[in-house]
Subunit: 358 residues, 2 copies
């Protein structure tokens, strides 16, 4: 088991990564709670809910099962979970357990952050991508007009990550999670990037995965400790996300998973970085790694102007122009303001670059 | 003008109380903002919106007018304001201005706390009661099943309190606000309590009101600085609220205003305190002050068991029993756990006490 300590401004908490942790959750709780509400989705519930439920030495353990998928990060589901918490009699000394991927973590975390103005919650990530979403204290739901627009900065009481649960993930979810690991490597650690580029996603064991997850969490932890509320360098974690989020939004969150969209966004950010700084980045290497690991790299029909307007709605945009994270070199990120004209040109060019390869 | 500094854990902010401040708001803003959304209700808008709008040296000033009244503190209105903020293009460097009473402050504050995970907002209280709600960083909306169940601790960037705006308040709102001042006096300052008991609410000038408000804010500030997240002594501010909230809820937030319900709750808390500690409190003095100032003191038909279950839903209840703030003497509050049986008995007795006086 690996333990990482996270010093958030409001509290210090620990991230536990290891095998079989789901059957000894109580050992990692910072204190006892008057009641516990486990929030999970229907897929994860089928695999692991029973293991978790039987885990707590507490008479008042309740469960809320949401439908899997991004659509559940809605204000309606938020409201339903609040109602559930009230009906179960949760009080200020109660705990919410977010058992699942980033959707469950973001949603249940936001419920915990706002229920009676904030009760404790723990993250129990069950996807690789959730190594990212479970650490750093960002919780949110979506608005019809954009992703993650309604939320809080609210740290969990602990993150308990049982890597055994990852074995039931399909390849699409593996790809999705590894895209965020590649992103973290790119903004902070060239050696880790090289390691990842030598990996075959269909041929990984638990120990290797845990190692990659721990490296990702270490990078994420350093960044968020330095800038919890995203006033500065935390923005680097959005590397690849300007294009990625817009692609997701245009797809109505179908087709590309979050990480798959980010993977394409990494390539886009490479292209813009190369031109902006007249440098070379390992575009080819990343492209072929993504391709050989089955990432979808063929864009759907995209109207460039529509794409641009989606980018501008992305919440990292301040005032009028789009702020994009670029690389000056590997592990040297920087935030740059890009004009609409330049962005449009880049979108056009990028569409050509990708389509020319198929 | 009087300035009070509030040291919250996340930020330090200032409360400005004075005459005519609404026409020089920009002087009190801690920084400049990319755009501004003023949230107010239809009644307040009629009186003061224009003064405020013309105040900002910013091209991007938008307005959202909600319907007045507690019903607006709903998840639907919350959602509508989020949509409005998005449609106006508010970004992370934008400001929300809450112009109005506690309803506008709580609602707009919660929108600000969650829009893009939190943007700045200022409180511009226009009721006396809002001296309480605007200071201390509690923001919330109601759930159908209980008041203020969904919210955050989120401090404003500043509180700008123009006492001139209070002249358009009706007597009901005066009473409502002064009940919270009496509450603050009771938990912290016997001299202030004596001052208030000698006041006639229909015969007050701006200077006197400003003085009372400043004393109330000073007490509130001391309490919340010592215990921002209500782990301990902040609960004292709920003096009178166990019964008050339940009464409000049973009335469906009609009839009694918040402060009027709290006023009745103060008497109830007096009664429970007197019996619990075998002491005498100035029940008669408070009762006759309330009566002579027109507070409604005749209870509607109340089912005691129903009342009890409403009290138990109140979010200050932990685990099973009701926690109530009592007085050991004036300015000596304490939190006490009261059994259901005792509470029921007290409710019955209290109903008799009040009805016997009419
Ligand atoms: N808060 C943050 O900092 C942050 C960071 C990155 C992403 N996110 C958010 O995370 C979400 C994406 O996370 P995600 O990719 O984990 O999505 P997800 O939660 O939707 O999980 C993906 C799919 O995998 C299934 N699943 C989860 N665990 C499983 C398991 N162990 N076995 C089998 N199936 C399993 C789920 O049911 C779902 O269908 C997005 O909403 C994104 O906005 C948040
Ligand atoms: N956040 C906190 O710490 C806290 C503390 C106490 C109360 N509250 C909340 O505050 C709310 C009650 O506040 P309130 O009593 O100010 O209610 P309110 O905002 O509903 O205002 C009362 C009425 O007065 C009107 N009004 C406001 N200003 C006016 C003016 N200057 N002239 C004429 N009319 C005016 C309003 O339109 C409304 O009809 C409740 O929702 C309560 O839960 C919050
Ligand atoms: Zn991401
Ligand atoms: Zn009150």
């Amino acid at each position: 088991m690996n333990v990482t300590r996270i010093n958030a401004s409001s509290k210090t908490y620990y991230v536990y990564v290891g095998e079989g942790l789901r059957t000894k959750v109580e050992e990692f709780l910072p204190k006892t709670y008057s009641s516990i509400l486990i929030v999970t989705d229907n897929l994860v519930a089928g695999h692991y809910l029973e293991d978790i439920e039987h885990n707590f030495d507490n008479e008042r353990v309740y469960t809320a099962i949401i439908e899997n998928g991004e659509e559940s990060k809605s204000i309606e589901m938020f409201h339903q979970l609040q109602t559930k918490a009230i009906d179960c009699g949760l009080d200020r000394k109660s705990l919410i357990v977010a058992l699942g991927g980033g959707v469950v973590g973001d949603l249940a975390g936001f419920v915990a952050a706002t229920y009676m103005r904030g009760i404790d919650f723990i993250q129990m990530p069950t996807t690789i991508l959730a190594h990212d979403s479970s650490v750093g204290g960002k919780v949110a739901i979506n608005h019809e007009k954009g992703k993650n627009l309604i939320g809080n900065f609210y740290s969990p009481a602990a993150v308990i990550y049982d890597v055994d649960t990852l074995k039931s993930l399909n390849q699409k979810e593996f790809r999705s999670g590894y895209a965020e690991l590649v992103k973290e490597a790119l903004i902070a650690d060239g050696t880790f990037f090289n390691t990842l580029m030598s990996v075959n996603l269909s041929d990984l064991n638990n120990t290797t995965i845990a190692d990659h997850i721990n490296q990702g969490i270490t990078i994420k932890a350093e960044v968020v400790e330095a800038d919890e509320r995203e006033a500065g360098i935390r923005k680097y974690l959005n590397f690849g996300h300007t294009f990625g989020h817009a692609l997701e939004a245009l797809q109505g969150y179908h087709g590309f998973s979050h990480g798959e969209a980010v993977a394409v966004g990494l390539l886009f950010a490479f292209q813009v970085s190369e031109e902006t700084f007249s440098i070379r980045l390992p575009f080819e290497r990343l492209f072929s790694w993504l391709r050989s690991n089955g990432y979808p790299l063929q864009l759907p029909e995209l109207d460039s102007k529509h794409m641009l307007s989606k980018m501008k709605l992305d919440k990292k945009t301040e005032g009028k122009k789009v702020q994009m994270v670029l690389l000056q070199s590997i592990a040297q990120p920087i935030t740059v303001e890009i004009s609409d004209d330049d962005l449009l040109r880049h979108i056009e060019l990028f569409k050509k670059t990708l389509s020319g390869r198929f």
